[in-house]
Amino acid sequence: MEVDLKGSETTTPGRKSQSAVTGSARKVKDNAADWHNLILKWDRLNDEGSTMANKIVNLGFNKSSQKEMQVMMEGQDTSASSNSENAFENSRELEEECDKLLRVVDKMTRIVSKMEKLVSSEKGIIDLETFQYGTGGRQTPLFQTWPTSQFADVSSELYEAYKQELTLKRAILQELAHTTNPDLSMVYLSCWLYQPYTDDRAKLLLEGLLLETGHRPI
Protein backbone atom coordinates (compact mmCIF):
# COMPACT_ATOMS: atom_id res chain seq x y z
CA MET A 1 0.00 0.00 0.00
CA GLU A 2 1.35 3.40 -1.02
CA VAL A 3 1.35 5.76 1.89
CA ASP A 4 3.82 8.20 0.47
CA LEU A 5 2.23 11.60 -0.09
CA LYS A 6 3.76 12.23 -3.46
CA GLY A 7 3.54 15.75 -4.80
CA SER A 8 2.49 17.30 -1.52
CA GLU A 9 4.54 20.05 0.08
CA THR A 10 4.48 18.30 3.38
CA THR A 11 5.19 14.61 3.42
CA THR A 12 4.91 12.29 6.34
CA PRO A 13 7.44 13.27 8.96
CA GLY A 14 9.67 10.22 9.11
CA ARG A 15 8.86 6.55 9.09
CA LYS A 16 9.60 5.98 12.74
CA SER A 17 6.49 7.66 14.07
CA GLN A 18 4.49 5.88 11.39
CA SER A 19 5.55 2.42 12.26
CA ALA A 20 4.58 3.12 15.87
CA VAL A 21 0.95 3.39 14.74
CA THR A 22 -0.82 0.04 14.69
CA GLY A 23 -4.24 -1.52 14.42
CA SER A 24 -7.23 0.65 13.48
CA ALA A 25 -5.17 3.82 13.61
CA ARG A 26 -2.69 2.32 11.13
CA LYS A 27 -5.53 1.43 8.78
CA VAL A 28 -7.20 4.85 9.09
CA LYS A 29 -3.91 6.61 8.49
CA ASP A 30 -3.17 4.52 5.40
CA ASN A 31 -6.65 5.19 4.12
CA ALA A 32 -6.11 8.92 4.52
CA ALA A 33 -2.92 8.67 2.45
CA ASP A 34 -4.85 6.67 -0.14
CA TRP A 35 -7.48 9.40 -0.31
CA HIS A 36 -4.79 11.94 -0.95
CA ASN A 37 -3.13 9.86 -3.67
CA LEU A 38 -6.38 8.95 -5.38
CA ILE A 39 -7.53 12.56 -5.52
CA LEU A 40 -4.15 13.62 -6.86
CA LYS A 41 -4.44 11.00 -9.59
CA TRP A 42 -7.99 12.12 -10.32
CA ASP A 43 -6.89 15.72 -10.75
CA ARG A 44 -4.14 14.71 -13.16
CA LEU A 45 -6.61 12.67 -15.19
CA ASN A 46 -9.00 15.59 -15.16
CA ASP A 47 -6.38 17.86 -16.71
CA GLU A 48 -5.50 15.27 -19.33
CA GLY A 49 -9.15 14.71 -20.14
CA SER A 50 -9.76 18.42 -20.40
CA THR A 51 -7.22 18.75 -23.20
CA MET A 52 -8.82 15.85 -25.05
CA ALA A 53 -12.32 17.23 -24.58
CA ASN A 54 -11.18 20.55 -26.03
CA LYS A 55 -9.78 18.76 -29.06
CA ILE A 56 -12.98 16.80 -29.55
CA VAL A 57 -15.05 19.97 -29.54
CA ASN A 58 -12.73 21.70 -31.99
CA LEU A 59 -12.71 18.68 -34.33
CA GLY A 60 -16.48 18.56 -34.13
CA PHE A 61 -16.68 22.18 -35.23
CA ASN A 62 -14.31 21.49 -38.12
CA LYS A 63 -16.57 18.68 -39.20
CA SER A 64 -19.70 20.76 -39.20
CA SER A 65 -18.01 23.68 -40.94
CA GLN A 66 -16.75 21.29 -43.61
CA LYS A 67 -20.26 20.06 -44.20
CA GLU A 68 -21.34 23.64 -44.74
CA MET A 69 -18.48 24.14 -47.14
CA GLN A 70 -19.59 21.12 -49.11
CA VAL A 71 -23.10 22.44 -49.34
CA MET A 72 -21.76 25.76 -50.53
CA MET A 73 -19.59 24.14 -53.13
CA GLU A 74 -22.28 22.04 -54.71
CA GLY A 75 -21.77 21.91 -58.44
CA GLN A 76 -18.02 22.27 -58.08
CA ASP A 77 -17.16 18.58 -57.99
CA THR A 78 -13.44 19.05 -58.50
CA SER A 79 -12.64 19.64 -54.87
CA ALA A 80 -15.17 17.18 -53.51
CA SER A 81 -12.75 14.26 -53.31
CA SER A 82 -10.10 16.13 -51.31
CA ASN A 83 -12.84 17.43 -49.10
CA SER A 84 -14.13 14.00 -48.28
CA GLU A 85 -10.58 12.86 -47.62
CA ASN A 86 -10.23 15.70 -45.19
CA ALA A 87 -13.50 14.79 -43.55
CA PHE A 88 -12.36 11.19 -43.28
CA GLU A 89 -9.09 12.25 -41.65
CA ASN A 90 -11.08 14.46 -39.30
CA SER A 91 -13.45 11.70 -38.26
CA ARG A 92 -10.57 9.33 -37.64
CA GLU A 93 -8.90 11.89 -35.38
CA LEU A 94 -12.18 12.57 -33.63
CA GLU A 95 -12.62 8.88 -32.96
CA GLU A 96 -9.10 8.61 -31.61
CA GLU A 97 -9.62 11.48 -29.20
CA CYS A 98 -12.94 10.03 -28.06
CA ASP A 99 -11.19 6.71 -27.38
CA LYS A 100 -8.55 8.49 -25.35
CA LEU A 101 -11.18 10.32 -23.34
CA LEU A 102 -13.00 7.04 -22.80
CA ARG A 103 -9.81 5.56 -21.37
CA VAL A 104 -9.49 8.54 -19.02
CA VAL A 105 -13.05 8.04 -17.81
CA ASP A 106 -12.34 4.33 -17.33
CA LYS A 107 -9.36 5.17 -15.17
CA MET A 108 -11.52 7.59 -13.20
CA THR A 109 -14.07 4.83 -12.74
CA ARG A 110 -11.37 2.64 -11.24
CA ILE A 111 -10.38 5.45 -8.89
CA VAL A 112 -13.97 5.85 -7.71
CA SER A 113 -14.30 2.11 -7.11
CA LYS A 114 -11.12 2.27 -5.00
CA MET A 115 -12.71 5.14 -3.11
CA GLU A 116 -15.73 2.96 -2.48
CA LYS A 117 -13.46 0.31 -0.99
CA LEU A 118 -11.98 2.91 1.34
CA VAL A 119 -15.48 3.81 2.54
CA SER A 120 -16.31 0.18 3.27
CA SER A 121 -12.97 -0.23 5.03
CA GLU A 122 -13.79 2.74 7.31
CA LYS A 123 -17.18 1.21 8.02
CA GLY A 124 -15.46 -2.06 8.85
CA ILE A 125 -13.28 -0.26 11.39
CA ILE A 126 -16.37 1.15 13.08
CA ASP A 127 -17.93 -2.32 13.20
CA LEU A 128 -14.74 -3.66 14.74
CA GLU A 129 -14.75 -0.95 17.38
CA THR A 130 -18.39 -1.60 18.20
CA PHE A 131 -17.42 -5.23 18.66
CA GLN A 132 -14.41 -4.32 20.82
CA TYR A 133 -15.82 -1.48 22.92
CA GLY A 134 -19.61 -1.83 22.60
CA THR A 135 -22.01 0.62 20.97
CA GLY A 136 -20.33 3.64 22.57
CA GLY A 137 -17.14 2.97 20.65
CA ARG A 138 -13.65 3.71 21.94
CA GLN A 139 -13.21 6.26 24.74
CA THR A 140 -10.08 7.98 23.48
CA PRO A 141 -9.81 9.21 19.89
CA LEU A 142 -7.49 7.38 17.50
CA PHE A 143 -5.49 10.51 16.72
CA GLN A 144 -6.25 14.07 17.85
CA THR A 145 -9.95 14.76 18.32
CA TRP A 146 -12.03 12.94 15.72
CA PRO A 147 -14.24 10.07 16.83
CA THR A 148 -13.79 7.03 14.59
CA SER A 149 -17.18 7.58 12.95
CA GLN A 150 -16.00 10.90 11.57
CA PHE A 151 -13.44 9.17 9.35
CA ALA A 152 -16.22 7.10 7.85
CA ASP A 153 -18.43 10.19 7.43
CA VAL A 154 -15.70 12.14 5.67
CA SER A 155 -14.87 9.17 3.47
CA SER A 156 -18.44 8.64 2.36
CA GLU A 157 -18.95 12.34 1.72
CA LEU A 158 -15.84 12.48 -0.46
CA TYR A 159 -16.91 9.30 -2.21
CA GLU A 160 -20.38 10.68 -2.96
CA ALA A 161 -18.86 13.85 -4.44
CA TYR A 162 -16.52 11.96 -6.74
CA LYS A 163 -19.20 9.46 -7.68
CA GLN A 164 -21.45 12.30 -8.79
CA GLU A 165 -18.58 13.91 -10.65
CA LEU A 166 -17.91 10.63 -12.43
CA THR A 167 -21.55 10.36 -13.50
CA LEU A 168 -21.31 13.87 -14.90
CA LYS A 169 -18.12 12.98 -16.77
CA ARG A 170 -19.80 9.93 -18.27
CA ALA A 171 -22.67 12.08 -19.49
CA ILE A 172 -20.21 14.57 -21.00
CA LEU A 173 -18.29 11.76 -22.68
CA GLN A 174 -21.47 10.48 -24.29
CA GLU A 175 -22.71 13.83 -25.53
CA LEU A 176 -19.57 15.79 -26.31
CA ALA A 177 -18.90 14.59 -29.85
CA HIS A 178 -22.56 14.70 -30.85
CA THR A 179 -23.36 18.24 -29.88
CA THR A 180 -23.82 20.76 -32.64
CA ASN A 181 -24.69 23.64 -30.34
CA PRO A 182 -21.40 25.42 -29.61
CA ASP A 183 -22.75 26.95 -26.41
CA LEU A 184 -23.69 23.56 -25.04
CA SER A 185 -20.26 22.20 -26.02
CA MET A 186 -18.72 25.03 -24.07
CA VAL A 187 -20.85 24.20 -21.03
CA TYR A 188 -19.70 20.57 -21.28
CA LEU A 189 -16.10 21.73 -21.34
CA SER A 190 -16.65 24.02 -18.34
CA CYS A 191 -18.30 21.17 -16.47
CA TRP A 192 -15.40 18.90 -17.21
CA LEU A 193 -12.72 21.38 -16.23
CA TYR A 194 -14.30 23.01 -13.18
CA GLN A 195 -15.87 19.88 -11.67
CA PRO A 196 -18.99 21.38 -10.08
CA TYR A 197 -19.49 18.50 -7.63
CA THR A 198 -16.07 18.52 -6.02
CA ASP A 199 -16.25 21.82 -4.23
CA ASP A 200 -14.16 23.60 -1.63
CA ARG A 201 -15.82 21.52 1.04
CA ALA A 202 -14.27 18.38 -0.42
CA LYS A 203 -10.84 20.00 -0.32
CA LEU A 204 -11.41 21.03 3.27
CA LEU A 205 -12.54 17.54 4.24
CA LEU A 206 -9.43 16.00 2.73
CA GLU A 207 -7.13 18.52 4.40
CA GLY A 208 -8.88 17.92 7.72
CA LEU A 209 -8.41 14.19 7.28
CA LEU A 210 -4.69 14.59 6.53
CA LEU A 211 -4.26 16.97 9.46
CA GLU A 212 -6.06 14.70 11.89
CA THR A 213 -4.10 11.61 10.87
CA GLY A 214 -0.78 13.45 11.14
CA HIS A 215 0.10 13.48 7.45
CA ARG A 216 0.14 17.25 7.65
CA PRO A 217 2.00 18.86 10.54
CA ILE A 218 -0.19 20.75 12.98
Partner: protein
Amino acid sequence: MSKSVLFSVNQTLKKCFQSLENNQKVWNSVLSECKPLMVSLGNLEEQLRAFQKVQIANTPLHTFPDLHQRLHFKLIQAVDIVLGKLTDKMCSLQSVRDAISNQVSGAFQLYEQNIGSLDLATCTQRSPVAPSIADMLEWLQDAERYYRQQFLRRKNLLLTLRADDLSLLETAPKRWESLETPSGEESISESPLAAITDVSLSG
Protein backbone atom coordinates in the same frame (compact mmCIF):
# COMPACT_ATOMS: atom_id res chain seq x y z
CA MET B 1 30.62 76.66 -11.43
CA SER B 2 32.56 73.74 -10.10
CA LYS B 3 33.37 70.84 -12.28
CA SER B 4 32.67 68.43 -9.46
CA VAL B 5 29.03 69.50 -9.30
CA LEU B 6 28.62 68.94 -13.00
CA PHE B 7 30.31 65.58 -12.66
CA SER B 8 28.10 64.43 -9.80
CA VAL B 9 24.93 65.56 -11.60
CA ASN B 10 26.02 63.68 -14.69
CA GLN B 11 26.84 60.61 -12.63
CA THR B 12 23.43 60.70 -10.94
CA LEU B 13 21.68 61.07 -14.26
CA LYS B 14 23.63 58.16 -15.63
CA LYS B 15 22.63 55.97 -12.71
CA CYS B 16 19.07 57.11 -13.11
CA PHE B 17 18.94 55.98 -16.70
CA GLN B 18 20.57 52.70 -15.85
CA SER B 19 18.01 51.95 -13.19
CA LEU B 20 15.29 53.10 -15.56
CA GLU B 21 16.49 50.53 -18.05
CA ASN B 22 16.39 47.79 -15.43
CA ASN B 23 12.98 48.85 -14.20
CA GLN B 24 11.70 48.87 -17.73
CA LYS B 25 12.74 45.24 -18.07
CA VAL B 26 10.94 44.33 -14.86
CA TRP B 27 7.87 46.25 -15.98
CA ASN B 28 7.79 44.47 -19.33
CA SER B 29 8.23 41.06 -17.79
CA VAL B 30 5.36 41.69 -15.37
CA LEU B 31 3.22 42.81 -18.27
CA SER B 32 4.07 39.66 -20.19
CA GLU B 33 2.99 37.62 -17.16
CA CYS B 34 -0.35 39.43 -17.28
CA LYS B 35 -1.00 38.37 -20.86
CA PRO B 36 -1.94 34.72 -20.21
CA LEU B 37 -4.11 35.89 -17.30
CA MET B 38 -5.95 38.23 -19.61
CA VAL B 39 -6.41 35.37 -22.08
CA SER B 40 -7.95 33.19 -19.37
CA LEU B 41 -10.19 36.07 -18.39
CA GLY B 42 -11.42 36.20 -21.98
CA ASN B 43 -11.92 32.41 -22.00
CA LEU B 44 -13.91 32.54 -18.80
CA GLU B 45 -16.09 35.28 -20.22
CA GLU B 46 -16.84 33.04 -23.21
CA GLN B 47 -17.67 30.15 -20.89
CA LEU B 48 -19.94 32.30 -18.76
CA ARG B 49 -21.72 33.63 -21.82
CA ALA B 50 -22.27 30.14 -23.22
CA PHE B 51 -23.45 29.08 -19.79
CA GLN B 52 -26.03 31.89 -19.74
CA LYS B 53 -27.36 30.95 -23.17
CA VAL B 54 -27.83 27.28 -22.31
CA GLN B 55 -30.85 26.15 -20.33
CA ILE B 56 -29.49 23.14 -18.50
CA ALA B 57 -33.03 21.86 -17.97
CA ASN B 58 -33.32 21.39 -21.75
CA THR B 59 -30.06 19.51 -22.15
CA PRO B 60 -28.93 15.94 -21.46
CA LEU B 61 -27.52 17.32 -18.21
CA HIS B 62 -30.97 18.03 -16.78
CA THR B 63 -30.78 15.05 -14.42
CA PHE B 64 -27.88 16.51 -12.46
CA PRO B 65 -28.96 18.25 -9.26
CA ASP B 66 -27.99 21.93 -8.69
CA LEU B 67 -25.71 21.79 -11.70
CA HIS B 68 -26.67 25.29 -12.76
CA GLN B 69 -25.79 26.93 -9.45
CA ARG B 70 -22.72 24.80 -8.90
CA LEU B 71 -21.19 25.47 -12.30
CA HIS B 72 -22.04 29.15 -12.08
CA PHE B 73 -20.31 29.34 -8.73
CA LYS B 74 -17.24 27.56 -10.05
CA LEU B 75 -16.96 29.86 -13.05
CA ILE B 76 -17.36 33.02 -10.95
CA GLN B 77 -14.80 31.63 -8.54
CA ALA B 78 -12.37 31.05 -11.42
CA VAL B 79 -12.85 34.66 -12.56
CA ASP B 80 -12.15 35.83 -9.02
CA ILE B 81 -8.94 33.83 -8.87
CA VAL B 82 -7.69 35.31 -12.14
CA LEU B 83 -8.62 38.83 -11.02
CA GLY B 84 -6.78 38.21 -7.75
CA LYS B 85 -3.66 37.17 -9.63
CA LEU B 86 -3.90 40.28 -11.80
CA THR B 87 -4.19 42.42 -8.68
CA ASP B 88 -0.97 40.85 -7.41
CA LYS B 89 0.69 41.77 -10.68
CA MET B 90 -0.51 45.33 -10.22
CA CYS B 91 1.41 45.45 -6.95
CA SER B 92 4.59 44.56 -8.83
CA LEU B 93 3.85 47.25 -11.41
CA GLN B 94 3.24 49.72 -8.61
CA SER B 95 6.61 49.01 -7.04
CA VAL B 96 8.30 49.52 -10.42
CA ARG B 97 6.49 52.82 -10.81
CA ASP B 98 7.52 53.87 -7.29
CA ALA B 99 11.13 52.93 -7.92
CA ILE B 100 11.19 55.04 -11.09
CA SER B 101 9.48 57.98 -9.39
CA ASN B 102 11.96 57.90 -6.51
CA GLN B 103 14.96 57.80 -8.79
CA VAL B 104 13.71 60.64 -10.94
CA SER B 105 12.74 62.83 -8.03
CA GLY B 106 16.18 62.16 -6.52
CA ALA B 107 17.80 63.40 -9.71
CA PHE B 108 15.66 66.51 -9.70
CA GLN B 109 16.44 67.13 -6.07
CA LEU B 110 20.16 67.03 -6.76
CA TYR B 111 19.69 69.40 -9.68
CA GLU B 112 17.70 71.85 -7.55
CA GLN B 113 20.22 71.72 -4.73
CA ASN B 114 22.96 72.72 -7.12
CA ILE B 115 20.93 75.14 -9.14
CA GLY B 116 23.19 77.99 -7.99
CA SER B 117 26.28 76.54 -9.55
CA LEU B 118 24.61 75.27 -12.71
CA ASP B 119 23.84 78.17 -15.00
CA LEU B 120 21.56 78.01 -17.99
CA ALA B 121 24.37 77.69 -20.45
CA THR B 122 25.84 74.70 -18.65
CA CYS B 123 22.49 72.96 -18.35
CA THR B 124 21.63 73.34 -21.99
CA GLN B 125 25.06 72.63 -23.38
CA ARG B 126 25.07 69.64 -25.70
CA SER B 127 27.96 67.97 -27.36
CA PRO B 128 28.07 65.57 -30.27
CA VAL B 129 28.57 62.72 -27.79
CA ALA B 130 26.41 63.83 -24.84
CA PRO B 131 22.95 65.30 -24.38
CA SER B 132 22.49 68.33 -22.19
CA ILE B 133 21.43 68.08 -18.56
CA ALA B 134 18.15 69.78 -19.47
CA ASP B 135 17.47 67.16 -22.15
CA MET B 136 18.13 64.30 -19.79
CA LEU B 137 15.98 65.75 -17.05
CA GLU B 138 13.19 66.18 -19.53
CA TRP B 139 13.47 62.57 -20.71
CA LEU B 140 13.43 61.34 -17.17
CA GLN B 141 10.30 63.34 -16.49
CA ASP B 142 8.67 61.92 -19.62
CA ALA B 143 9.51 58.38 -18.55
CA GLU B 144 8.25 58.93 -15.03
CA ARG B 145 4.99 60.34 -16.34
CA TYR B 146 4.60 57.46 -18.78
CA TYR B 147 4.84 54.78 -16.08
CA ARG B 148 2.64 56.76 -13.71
CA GLN B 149 -0.10 57.06 -16.30
CA GLN B 150 0.27 53.46 -17.49
CA PHE B 151 -0.09 52.18 -13.98
CA LEU B 152 -3.18 54.27 -13.28
CA ARG B 153 -4.86 53.29 -16.54
CA ARG B 154 -4.25 49.59 -15.97
CA LYS B 155 -5.30 49.73 -12.37
CA ASN B 156 -8.41 51.64 -13.32
CA LEU B 157 -9.30 49.02 -15.91
CA LEU B 158 -8.95 46.21 -13.40
CA LEU B 159 -10.98 48.03 -10.78
CA THR B 160 -13.95 48.29 -13.11
CA LEU B 161 -14.03 44.52 -13.79
CA ARG B 162 -16.62 42.38 -12.07
CA ALA B 163 -17.26 38.70 -12.41
CA ASP B 164 -20.96 39.30 -13.05
CA ASP B 165 -20.58 41.96 -15.74
CA LEU B 166 -19.84 40.03 -18.90
CA SER B 167 -19.69 42.96 -21.29
CA LEU B 168 -16.89 44.53 -19.24
CA LEU B 169 -15.07 41.21 -19.01
CA GLU B 170 -15.46 40.62 -22.72
CA THR B 171 -13.75 43.84 -23.75
CA ALA B 172 -11.15 43.76 -20.97
CA PRO B 173 -8.40 41.85 -22.82
CA LYS B 174 -8.66 44.19 -25.80
CA ARG B 175 -8.73 47.31 -23.67
CA TRP B 176 -5.78 45.99 -21.69
CA GLU B 177 -3.85 45.44 -24.90
CA SER B 178 -4.77 48.83 -26.28
CA LEU B 179 -3.12 50.46 -23.27
CA GLU B 180 0.19 49.33 -24.67
CA THR B 181 1.40 52.36 -26.58
CA PRO B 182 4.42 51.32 -28.60
CA SER B 183 5.23 54.95 -29.39
CA GLY B 184 5.34 55.85 -25.70
CA GLU B 185 7.52 52.86 -24.92
CA GLU B 186 9.85 53.63 -27.79
CA SER B 187 10.32 57.25 -26.92
CA ILE B 188 11.42 56.17 -23.48
CA SER B 189 13.64 53.35 -24.66
CA GLU B 190 15.42 55.44 -27.24
CA SER B 191 16.35 58.48 -25.22
CA PRO B 192 17.61 56.76 -22.05
CA LEU B 193 19.56 54.17 -23.95
CA ALA B 194 21.18 56.88 -26.00
CA ALA B 195 21.78 58.90 -22.88
CA ILE B 196 23.42 56.01 -21.01
CA THR B 197 25.98 55.40 -23.72
CA ASP B 198 26.55 59.11 -24.21
CA VAL B 199 26.92 59.97 -20.58
CA SER B 200 29.29 57.09 -20.07
CA LEU B 201 31.36 58.41 -22.94
CA SER B 202 31.52 61.90 -21.57
CA GLY B 203 31.83 60.77 -17.97
